[in-house]
């Protein structure tokens, strides 16, 4: 029995971890690398989820293909938005917050006007894993794998490819990057497109598990913000660690005290994390690394 309960806890952790990482990663790229606080992040996820659901329901394409449609649709959407609006907001951190809030209002309501109050939901594939009297959704556990894969892929893209180096260089010093032959406009656009694609991926992956309504984005926004801040400046490592840290807190407190306690514990942990680690977990990590170097 104790083993089964440990499994319960593990699965709940994986579930929370996947949710936090996937909710955060697109936002983290756009915030961490481009200095845009995207309050419409949840609505980018909405685009991914809706495109996936609609192409599955209306076109009858297989789920994986529908998810691909979701990702592509969100990417295209992100590119259009970047060209129309977002590129005017680089370097205007707080203004970007207000504008994207406006975008979020418009998107939710337009979705409602165009698609109505809900869409028929896709069923969750794979069924459950049973152990003892318990069972857990296999799909939701699989999402943890998807989260880790996503992080790994991003790590490779941003540190091992010329594109990644150019993108990081552009973010650090746009002018110099331009003088090195980098089309910085395109770099910003590409980075934003990647952030959008990740939001689309999140929407696509969660489409079979969540209710399709125009305000579904709100489900993701709070966790995403908290994790970005707790993660700190180093986007990818920060997101993984914040996902791990907050996922653990969420799983344990939910397990002990129920969903409400889990939620409150998550937010409270975030406040304390920000207060005592003003540079996030990665800031702490750098301090520790520096100390170890000193000791050697």
């Amino acid at each position: 029995m104790a083993l089964y309960e440990l499994l319960n806890l593990t699965f709940q952790f994986l579930d929370s971890f996947a949710f936090i990482v996937l909710a955060t990663v697109g936002l983290a790229i756009i915030f961490g690398m481009m200095g845009i606080i995207n309050l419409a992040h949840g609505e980018f996820i909405l685009v991914g989820a809706y495109a996936t659901t609609l192409s599955f329901n209306l076109l009858g394409v297989p789920l994986v293909l529908a998810m691909l449609v979701g990702i592509i649709a969100t990417t295209v959407y992100g590119i259009i938005l970047e060209r129309l609006i977002i590129h005017r907001l680089y370097g205007r951190l707080l203004d970007s917050m207000v504008v994207t809030f406006g975008i979020s209002l418009v998107m939710i309501q337009l979705t409602r006007i165009v698609f109505g109050n809900s869409l028929d939901q896709i069923g969750t594939p794979f069924g459950g894993i049973s152990y003892g009297v318990y069972s857990y959704s296999a799909y939701r556990i699989m999402l943890a794998g998807a989260a880790i894969l996503t992080l790994a892929a991003l790590y490779v893209v941003f540190t091992r490819t010329t594109f990644g180096i150019k993108a990081r260089a552009t973010i650090q010093d746009e002018e110099t990057a331009r003088s090195m032959g980098v089309d910085t406009d395109r770099m910003y656009l590409s980075t934003f497109a990647i952030g959008s694609a990740l939001a689309g991926l999140t929407g696509a992956l969660y489409a079979p598990t969540i209710t399709m309504s125009p305000d579904l984005g709100a489900n993701f926004l709070v966790e995403a913000f908290v994790a970005v801040v707790v993660g700190g400046p180093s986007v990818l490592i920060g997101t993984s660690l914040a996902g791990g840290f907050l996922g653990t807190i969420d799983a344990i407190f939910t397990y002990v005290g129920g969903t409400f306690i889990g939620q409150v514990a998550l937010l409270t942990a975030a406040i304390f994390a920000i207060r005592f680690l003003p540079d996030g977990i990665t800031g702490l990590l750098e301090d520790i690394r520096a100390k170890r170097r000193e000791a050697q």
Binding site: D287, R289, A290, K291, R293, E294, Q296
Partner: protein, 259 residues
């Protein structure tokens, strides 16, 4: 108290706390580490009341770190700072300023979006009665050759005017010790001469002690008698400008071959 580095000259008498009596500022074993990097290494540095001292050294010698330790922007890893007999190494910046230490940054860091008058008001209102603001502003502008700029936005001043405004703001607080980080970086010959003149006048008239970090060795020559050379975070040489300039070791690490 003997200093660990034999090249440091200690000329002043020492009182029972180990702090030299006419010394306004004294550091003891001041050290700052950033992770594995020791930016400032056991520095014992002293400056007398009314002295004008220049601090030179190659890039990365720890000059800026040292200055930041003095102003309180950085917390020392070890060691202490005595100012006017009190240990101030752990006081926040603003309290050090209240005790009479003023600082001018490397880049002119005035408030660019405020007018000159408003810029001056910020230090002024800390020490003066509101009724005297107008008059004191006028006096200050005159003294620092900024007449007629009172209502300009500070960003619109020339580089030299900005440097002077910043010194004026620092001086408004009537400090006893002023820390200047490269006060003539990027100034023209005339402007440099003007600043040198200004510093000497202030030093003489107001009895303010100066610690000046500077790259321009010619400028150093025109203003300072005593020079401290920092290297690798530690004091490398201390002495008159001629001694230092002719020291082969200093030449090797810093000045390079003269043509």
């Amino acid at each position: 108290m003997a200093t660990s580095d034999p090249t440091v000259k200690t000329t002043a008498a020492v009182d029972e706390t180990g702090v030299e009596t006419d010394t306004i500022l004294q550091t003891r074993g001041l050290r700052k580490q950033f992770g594995g990097l020791t930016a400032t290494d056991d520095v014992d540095f002293g400056i007398d009341e009314g002295e004008l001292r220049c601090l030179i050294g190659p890039n990365g010698a720890g000059k800026s770190t040292f200055l930041k330790l003095l102003t309180g922007r950085l917390e020392p890893t070890a060691g202490s700072i005595y100012y006017d007999g009190d240990e101030i190494g752990h006081l926040p910046s603003h309290e050090r300023v209240s005790r009479g230490i003023s600082m001018k940054f490397q880049v002119p860091s005035i408030y660019p979006d405020l007018s000159v008058r408003e810029n001056l008001r910020i230090p002024l209102q800390r020490i003066a009665d509101p009724d005297t603001f107008e008059q004191r502003t006028r006096e200050t502008l005159e003294r620092f050759h900024l007449e007629g700029t009172a209502d300009e936005t500070a960003a619109n001043l020339s580089h030299g005017q900005q440097q002077r405004l910043e010194i004026a703001m620092a001086m408004t607080l009537e400090p006893t010790l002023m820390l200047l980080d490269e006060p003539v970086a990027g100034l023209s010959v005339e402007e440099t001469a003007e600043v040198a003149d200004l510093l000497r006048t202030i030093n003489a008239e107001d009895d303010v002690a100066f610690v000046v970090i500077e790259h321009d060795i010619d400028f150093v020559e025109t203003i300072a008698d005593q020079v401290t050379v920092l290297h690798d975070g530690a004091i490398f040489r201390e002495g008159s400008i001629e001694d230092v300039r002719n020291d082969p070791a200093v030449k090797r690490i810093y000045l390079g071959e003269e043509e």
